[in-house]
Amino acid sequence: MAPHHTCFARLASLMLTGSLIMGADEAPKVPKVPAPQPGAVAEHGAAHADAKATAKTLPPGEPGTDYTPVVVPNGTTLPWKVVDGVKVFHLTAEPVQHEFAPGLVATVWGYNGQSPGPVLELVDGDHIRVYVTNRLPEKTSVHWHAILLPNAQDGVSGLTQLGIPPGETVKYEFTVHQQGTFMYHPHFDEMTQMGMGMMGMIVIHPRNPKGPKVDRDFSIMLTEWAIKAGTSRPDTNEMMEFNILTMNSKAFPGTAPLVVKLGERVRIRFGNLGAMDHHPVHLHGYQFKVVATDGGDVEQAGQQPETTVLVPVGSTRAIEFVADAPGDWAMHCHMTHHIMNQMGHGLPNMVGVDAGDLDEQMRKLLPDYMTMGPTGMGEMAEMGMKIPENSIPMVGADGPHGYIDMGGMFTVLKVRDGITTYEDPGWYAQPKGTEVVTASPEELRRDGIEIDPPPAVPANGTPSAPAATPGAAMPHEHQHH
């Protein structure tokens, strides 16, 4: 993409200029800035910020004219007002009652009544002032992840600022001179505060977008939680066993679908502020390109085609594609444990176990006992068995073709022709003749497919040990003499 290239070149030259100025040990020559500059900007004097300082602070970018706003599934963008040419925001760090999916509500920490916090949506060159009020029981701070800004604004408690005490409000103020997908999160007691859900996305649009227009621009924060089934607060002492994996703090079936009109250009921005896990997010039905990271745009020549984008912890990725294939397309983390909900660990492996009269024996003591999982667990959730309150151990959702037995980081990209709104259009109706159905005997005969009689012990899925019978035909050498 030529425009991106140009942009990079300009940035590089600006930085070069900055370092030349520094090298000359002169006072920075700040170009004429149209907007009035508060004190914070005057502090732009050190390190790389000098280079930025040479970039223009521009009038506040307006949605519709300067950018197409992002769509935040299950979330919102942070409202702002303009005061003397400055975009003013207010974030309140506070406890939040949050529903992860129907059946699981927990007390988490977030911003402005939600987790993740609302998306901070800016335009390159905006000068912003963000008030942060702390309504948590402990100190906090806000770090503007991957934003290039004066050191004092970096939000690292103890290193660049005092932690914000409970009840207090501080002000962050800086001009953004970059574009892309970034994040914000506390830099005080990170394990607790991020484990409790304190994080948010920052989207900075280019002032003059180049290249094809993006019609649908989604923002999704990936993270992970440890919420023991039956509890209602994340366990932030947990280091390894995370059991709720979320997109914008929702686990399927709590995740809202991504609705797109056929033929639209789609961008999906992912951020990952989970504690331990990277997430390979796979999109069905499309090839896409990774067009940007939180380090900036990827040059067109480097945009490798993908169907799965790995979003590492502490990073963002943006992918783009044209939604030219209608349908309900799954989009999910490809780590299979990340599309499960609170199901337990340390259970005996029941696959292949012949339960026999075990249930009868057990019911003498435990009338509700039922052997679980001897044929796998795919259908467990459908049974609607009573489970601990406020837990979603095996919850999935009814789909158009039976039960969708997934949870966690799973959502659906719904591409439709002829829709006029982005309301959930419901399930995709497969065109006649394209559905998967049981193969007919005629088809099998036509294509020469021979089906062996079922094995002797189908119940537990254990084949009658072929190795134990020497001389028996190997499975693929079926006897058709």
Partner: protein, 470 residues
Amino acid sequence: MRRAIPVMIGVSVALAGCGGTRDQGFTDVQKTVSQRTTAKIHWDQGSTEDEQSAAAVKQLLSHELGVDEAVQIALLNNRSLQAVYQDLGVAQADLVRAGLLRNPVFDVSAKFARGGGVRLELSIVEDFLDLFFIPMRKRLAETAIEGAKARVAGAVIDLATNVRVAVYRLQTTTQALELRRTVVQAASAAYDLTQRLRAAGNITKLDLLEQRGVFEEAKMHLGQAEVEVDELREHLNSLLGLWGDETQWIVAPRLPDMSADEMPMDGLERRAIERSLDLAITRSEIALHAQRLGIARPFGAIGNADLGVAAEKEIDGTWAVGPAASVPLPIFNFGQGAVAEARAELRRSQELYAAQAIEIRSRVRTARSRLLANRARVDYLQQAMLPLRRAAVEETQLHYNGMLASPFRLIQTKQNEIAAGVDYVEALGGYWIALAMLNQLLDGRVPMDAGSDSAATSPRMMGGQMDRGH
């Protein structure tokens, strides 16, 4: 227990006229016992009523035995108790003996003179003091009979208590055994599951062996509990005087529920003192010692004083007849030793009486607080622990349903519930035993020591030693 009530009524009707037996104070014992227990007693003395008694026992044995039935059987059928009844006969015989005048002593001596001739000396003397002693002796023997009656009644109360305790123990153990069987069932189910897991190739041989260990251990504990039940049955057989086919009785399998209210503390100590058979025994001893002191004072120095007629036939054949008397002279021993001894004995028995009364009061308070503690434990288990364990099972079942808890954890939680059930049964048994102990005190007997079940005829506490004769 309910079913046996008509039988119990039958027993009381059949034995209503038992007073007709050779009495010897047994009627008084019956009266004392009837003030303390509804069960009847009968002294087998070869009367036709013996058969009625035996029939009543047989009838009681044909039904499920509760505490009341077992006590009734023991009181009619325990041979040791029948042996104790003979104490009444012994005491009665003493009274008869006490009323008889000492036999006169006839003395004859002959002396042969050289050259012929015999001198005869004859005397017949009677210990004339004995005439004064008879009423005293009779009073002593009567006092001793009072003591014997109290001892016999005490033996009845002891036996009844021991039977109650034994039945409660048996019921407790039987009921706990049923629960332990379900523990084995649970362990068996868990082991079965591991076998199936192993067959599917999903667990190691070591896992299988460990689970089998748990199962075998549970079975072993069950075996021990079964032996305990057998031993407790045998103990009851012995207390109930049963042998042969009679040992095939069935005990009511469940302990009764606690009564809603506990008996108030007010007046318990006084009641125990008033009705104490132990104190009655000591009182009779005090009376004996007092009477002995009364005898010792005037007669301490003069053990006997003979008065009689002496005749002498001289060689020449003439008779001389005259009175004869012999009286010890209180010169050296004027009775001070005997009086001092009698006084010391009296004092000792008086001190022991006070000590005994103090101990009874203390035992009543201890027994009552033990009863209250047992009640509190039963209540706690019933109202807190059992619902807790039950709720844990229900919740674990939900976790199991959500594949959040393993079947082994579910089984373990169930076993915890069963264990709480065993605790409950044992606490309930403890409550009934504590109540039986308290009632024993209130019925006038100090338990040998809490928890030990002595034979009905065991000697009593220090104050109640057997009368050493007179």
